[in-house]
């Protein structure tokens, strides 16, 4: 070991301990107390220095002894000033016997500062020792014999008042009394406490001895721990020695400014979509059934529009108006297909129902509004919309979740370009090279496709659903070119990327978890 490099890295406290040990003949073991005394160190400083030196193997533990020590508790200190229960009981009994008054246990228990359990314990002990008698009527009388316990307690309280003492230094009889009147689990109200004092003694290791010898020889230069503006200003840093740090230790933790890992994941998706030429759309959390469902050609009797599937708004329950001509056109496409070439659903459309306000249940509502607002042709749009589902919350169902979806409009849109777009998503969003297209069903698209991809880490998974909007959706909203509607199911990917298994953890309230989660995107 390079002794001088080692010495340079020593803390002043470590140097003090090494030099104290080095001042004694080789191989001398010193106890902590002696070390503290000789090195003029506070106990806390000493214990820090010892831990560091042990970690560097410059000193070693020679002996470790465990000594039971007796000291007074807070109650013991009070008894010093006043009297212990046994003394008070004996005193009271002597008074009573002397004056001929009747003294019963309840009398004693009613005295200030004596609680029932103290009284019973004291009376029991005194009776056992023959110092008192319980006569007829439960009265207590003294016998005139002394109580060794009461006397021992008084002596011990005096002896321990100043400082603690080793248990083994007491006579057998006193040790017995100490143990009987020491705090234990379930009985904290006692005057004595027995603690185990661990005393260790330390010797220098070979490296430690070398370092100590070197230190004695060279003397200790003035050392500074930190460069300061003053040292720089007057150039006095030149005369100083800078202690070398042990840089392998772990640093303290700090909090940092950081994006939420799930938002970061969604940001990545957002960036990818923008880079593919998609324009972002925004919508409202509160939506009408008209834009959320009617405009998407979901008939008003559709099971997914049931009271058990959608959150309805309490007040106001209905919107004041739905924009025309969309309302009339959508109503007529539901009833008879309008002029879309469709038969329609053939039922009587309820305009009041269309005005019902709901919490947005699918991101497609945003797409429907975009279609009605003269979108660009060709055009690509996306939204990352918070949606609400009427579901019991569990590890795989959240009431509140993000839907990533959008539309693509253009003259060249058809089934094959739909598949081409899905291929692009598979590659860009899931880094997947293998894809499968499965027939699917959505109320507002025809044909409809489910996109399954082989994710590099997750294997085969469903990435999303898509289709060509039915003409019953696009024509009433004034769009005459074909439109792709697509949606991506990204929560599973996000959960894997974030290493979580419960969908509720995406929105966790556990700050420690948020701080320590790293996305691997």
């Amino acid at each position: 070991m390079d002794i001088s490099a080692l010495i340079d890295s020593l803390h002043p406290l470590e140097i003090k301990v090494l030099m104290t040990l080095g001042a004694h003949p080789s191989g001398t073991a010193l106890e902590s107390e002696r070390l503290a005394e000789a090195g003029e160190l506070e106990p806390s400083q000493l214990s820090m220095a010892i831990e560091w030196l042990l970690a560097k193997s410059l000193i070693a533990v020679q002996t470790e002894t465990v000594t039971p020590m007796v000291s007074l508790t807070k109650i013991g200190e009070e008894y010093c000033q006043t009297a212990s229960p046994i003394e008070r009981v004996l005193e009271a009994a002597r008074d009573a016997t002397g004056t001929g008054k009747r003294l019963t246990i309840p009398d004693l228990q009613s005295q200030d500062g004596l609680d029932p359990s103290d009284v019973s314990k004291a009376v029991g002990r005194l009776k056992k020792e023959g110092a008192v008698l319980i006569i007829q009527g439960g009265c207590i009388e003294t016998t005139g014999r002394p109580s060794p316990t009461a006397e021992a307690i008084r002596t011990l309280l005096g002896q321990l008042q100043e400082s603690s003492k080793e248990l083994m230094a007491f006579t057998d009889a006193h040790r017995q009394v100490i143990e009987d009147y020491a705090v234990k689990r379930g009985n904290a109200k006692e005057p004595f406490r027995i603690d185990e004092r661990v005393a260790r003694s330390f010797v220098l290791s070979q490296d430690g001895a070398d370092a100590a010898a070197q230190l004695m020889k060279q003397g200790v230069a003035e050392e500074v721990s930190q460069l300061s503006p003053d040292l720089l200003k007057d150039g006095s840093w030149r005369q100083k020695r800078f202690r070398k740090y042990t840089i392998s230790l772990r640093p303290p933790r700090i909090g940092t400014g950081k994006k939420h890992p799930y938002r970061e994941f969604l940001d990545t998706v957002k960036t990818k979509l923008v880079s593919m030429g998609f324009q972002e759309m925004r919508g409202a959390l509160v939506e009408t059934e008209f834009w959320g469902m009617d405009a998407l050609f979901m008939p008003q009797f559709h099971p997914a529009r049931d009271i058990h599937d959608v959150y309805f708004v309490k007040e106001p329950s209905h919107t004041t108006a739905v924009d025309e001509p969309f309302l009339s056109r959508v109503a007529s496409v539901h009833e008879n297909g309008m002029e879309t070439g469709s038969t329609g659903w053939g039922y009587s459309f309820d305009i009041h129902r269309a005005k019902r306000l709901v919490l947005r249940s699918q991101g497609t509502a945003v797409s429907a509004r975009t279609l009605a607002a003269s979108p660009h042709v060709p055009g690509k749009y996306f939204s990352i919309a918070r949606c609400f589902r009427y579901d019991q919350v569990d590890a795989t169902h959240a009431t509140d979740f993000f839907q990533v979806e959008g539309i693509v409009l253009g003259e060249d849109i058809n089934f094959r370009t739909l598949l081409g777009l899905l291929n692009l998503f598979a590659r860009e969003v899931a880094q997947a090279k293998e894809v499968k297209f499965l027939p699917a069903y959505f109320p507002f698209t025809e044909p409809s496709v489910e996109l399954h991809v082989r994710h590099p880490r997750l294997g085969w998974m469903e990435l999303g659903g898509a289709g060509l909007f039915r003409p019953e959706v696009t024509l009433p909203l004034g769009v005459t070119v074909p439109v792709i509607a697509w949606g991506l199911g990204l929560d599973r990917m996000a959960m894997v990327a974030l290493g979580i298994h419960d969908i509720r953890e995406l929105f966790t309230d556990n700050l420690e978890l948020i701080r320590t989660t790293r996305g691997q995107l």
Partner: protein, 572 residues
């Protein structure tokens, strides 16, 4: 989206009818075939050989059964559907069902047929019951528009009548009971009466099906008679009826049932239903009946939608192998759905069938070639910029539910009954914890703080997200706004610490602002301010009121701000 249970060997033997190749299919092969019916295999029990299949298409009730799935696969294997004779036979049915006047107001329509020569097996019975339930429950909207009854034919004397009776005039032993009950007793006591009774709006006259000897068959849509309407394993002559509110749906349901029984080997005999007044199909309606009309579709329209040239022959073949009856013309085809389907509303529905019949794998993906410019909305750009700045200021981003509880959003914040505490509430509350939308962001931040007292301090948290602000002047009663909330929690935090952060944020957002003292119940009086830009309020800042902290059980001082980014944009 119904999920059904079928037996693998039953499915295989139905596929193998008339020479189809359906025996000994592997699970992977079954999954492959299920693409043809938009089916997804959800489970397979090797011991019982049961398959659980989810059918996606809610417009194809004919596929919600073992027979229907097998049929679609069989047609593909054989190249075309072998027509069912009972849809085309012209001979006069031997049985009659008479509808008495007055049904129009209650449950107007009925369709029925008989099925002879198929001896009901245990698995076959399970499938019959499952199909009956799925059709009535999902296609029939919980029996409201369609319900189905199956009976032992030999116990019935024709003609059967469908009529209205007084609730206490007729009694019979319903399925699931030991003794006879009147119709009103059934409505009040029988589990099915309680469940489906509300469908019958008028309770003074109730529908009943009775035979010529006045024996009740059933009380539609509630329950069958136990004597006649309980089909058992071994029965080989059945009577099937469907009642409902829409004649086409009623007939379609019967068509599906008839085709299913025919696939299992039964001979179907149609029944004539005699109505008192004319229906859309006349006064005498023979059921089952093929209601399909051929639709002429231009080949060009199909090719354009699919993005591929196919030609008449390919289209004709694709549709025939999917069950259509097709006549090819010049540049078009005349396509008619099989009688058990009624789901083509638009040419696009036929387009999808062409694609499915050929298989999606037959279509090579093509990248859309159009050039478009991508970009983010103004509010998203503002939100992203603010988030970057907050991260730079050392804040950890969090993300929260928007749907929450009024306690958290208002009550704990001391805002109950104030304008600030007004939320958009849910009408059909399932759980109070998810019963209103947040109107500001501070509660979302406090939610994390309350749960994270053991995470080392300081805590500097922010969230940028949507809230719903109640607004009576808005057409939907609320505005969705994007809001930025931030808070600092540690033992010695104070107003100026968060004020510094706000100051930096607004500097880099390029917004001049000032603070004006405000009495806001969530903050300590004298240590709270309204954030003003161009004289308009865009948010609040302050030291959170200790009572708010107590209610959240937070034992650390908190300073915070809440800035409406949408409002900032509106102010330019």
């Amino acid at each position: 989206m119904p999920t059904i249970t079928v037996f693998k060997d039953d499915l295989e033997s139905l596929i193998s009818r008339e020479g189809g190749a359906g025996r000994g299919l592997s699970i992977a092969q079954i999954e492959e075939w299920l693409m043809l019916v938009k089916g997804e295999l959800k489970g397979h029990h090797p011991e019982t050989d049961e398959l659980r299949i989810e059918l996606q298409d809610s417009n194809r009730p004919d596929l919600w059964c073992c027979e229907g799935i097998a049929r679609q696969i069989r047609i593909k294997q054989q190249g075309r559907l072998t027509p069912y004779p009972f849809f085309t036979e012209k001979s006069k049915p031997s049985y009659q069902l008479i509808v008495k006047p007055g049904m129009q107001q209650v449950r107007p329509y009925v369709a029925a047929c008989t099925a002879k020569g198929y001896r009901v097996t245990e698995k076959g019975l399970a499938q019959l019951i499952q199909t009956q339930e799925k059709l009535a429950d999902i296609f029939g909207r919980k029996r409201k528009t369609v319900s189905i009854g199956i009976y032992q034919l030999q116990n019935i004397t024709f003609p059967v009548t469908y009529e209205l009776v007084k609730p206490d005039d007729v009694r019979f032993t319903p399925l699931g009971m030991e003794t006879t009950m009147t119709l009103s007793e059934i409505l009040m006591v029988h589990p099915k009466g309680l469940e489906y009774g509300p469908i019958l709006a008028v309770k003074s006259l109730l529908p009943i099906l009775r035979d010529a000897k006045d024996q009740p068959l059933s009380f539609p849509p509630i329950i069958n008679s136990r004597e006649i309407g309980e089909v058992r394993v071994g029965d080989d002559e059945l009577f099937v009826e469907v009642t409902g509110t829409d004649l086409r749906m009623v007939i379609l349901s019967l068509n599906i049932f008839a085709a299913n029984l025919a696939d299992r080997g039964a001979t179907i005999e149609p029944i004539t239903v005699q109505y008192p007044t004319s229906t859309i199909l006349g006064k005498r309606v023979t059921t089952p009946q093929d209601l399909g009309k051929p639709k002429t579709v231009k080949i060009h329209a199909i090719e354009q939608a699919l993005g591929q040239e196919l030609g008449e022959t390919v289209v004709q073949q694709a549709l025939e192998t999917y069950g259509y009856d097709v006549t090819a013309g010049k540049g078009s085809v005349k396509a008619k759905l099989p009688p058990y389907r009624h789901d083509v509303m638009h040419t696009m529905d036929i387009v999808e069938d062409v694609a499915m019949s050929r298989g999606y794998a037959e279509f090579t993906p093509v990248m859309p070639a159009q050039f478009t410019v991508g970009g983010l909305s103004v509010i998203e750009q503002m939100s992203d910029r603010s988030r970057e700045l907050m991260v730079g200021l050392g804040f950890q981003e969090i993300i929260s539910n928007i749907l929450g509880s009024p306690d958290h959003y208002s009550g704990f914040m001391r805002l109950q009954g104030t304008e600030w505490g007004r939320t958009v509430d849910v009408d059909n509350v399932m759980s109070l914890s998810f019963s209103c939308l947040r109107q500001w962001l501070l509660p979302s931040l406090l939610r994390v703080e309350a749960a994270s007292s053991r995470a080392f301090y300081p805590h500097r948290l922010f969230e940028a997200g949507d809230v719903a602000i109640f607004d009576g002047t808005h057409e939907s009663g609320s505005r969705t706004e994007t809001v930025l909330g931030a808070m600092i929690a540690h033992a010695t935090t104070h107003f100026s610490e968060i004020h510094s952060c706000l100051d930096v944020l607004f500097y880099y957002l390029g917004k001049e602002y000032s603070l004006e003292p405000v009495q806001h119940p969530s903050f300590l009086d004298g240590r709270a301010g309204r954030i003003l830009v161009s004289g308009q309020s865009v948010g609040v800042i302050g030291e959170v009121h200790p009572e708010v902290l107590e209610r959240w059980q937070i034992a650390m001082p908190i300073v915070a701000f809440d800035v409406n980014l949408s409002q900032l944009i509106r102010l330019g």
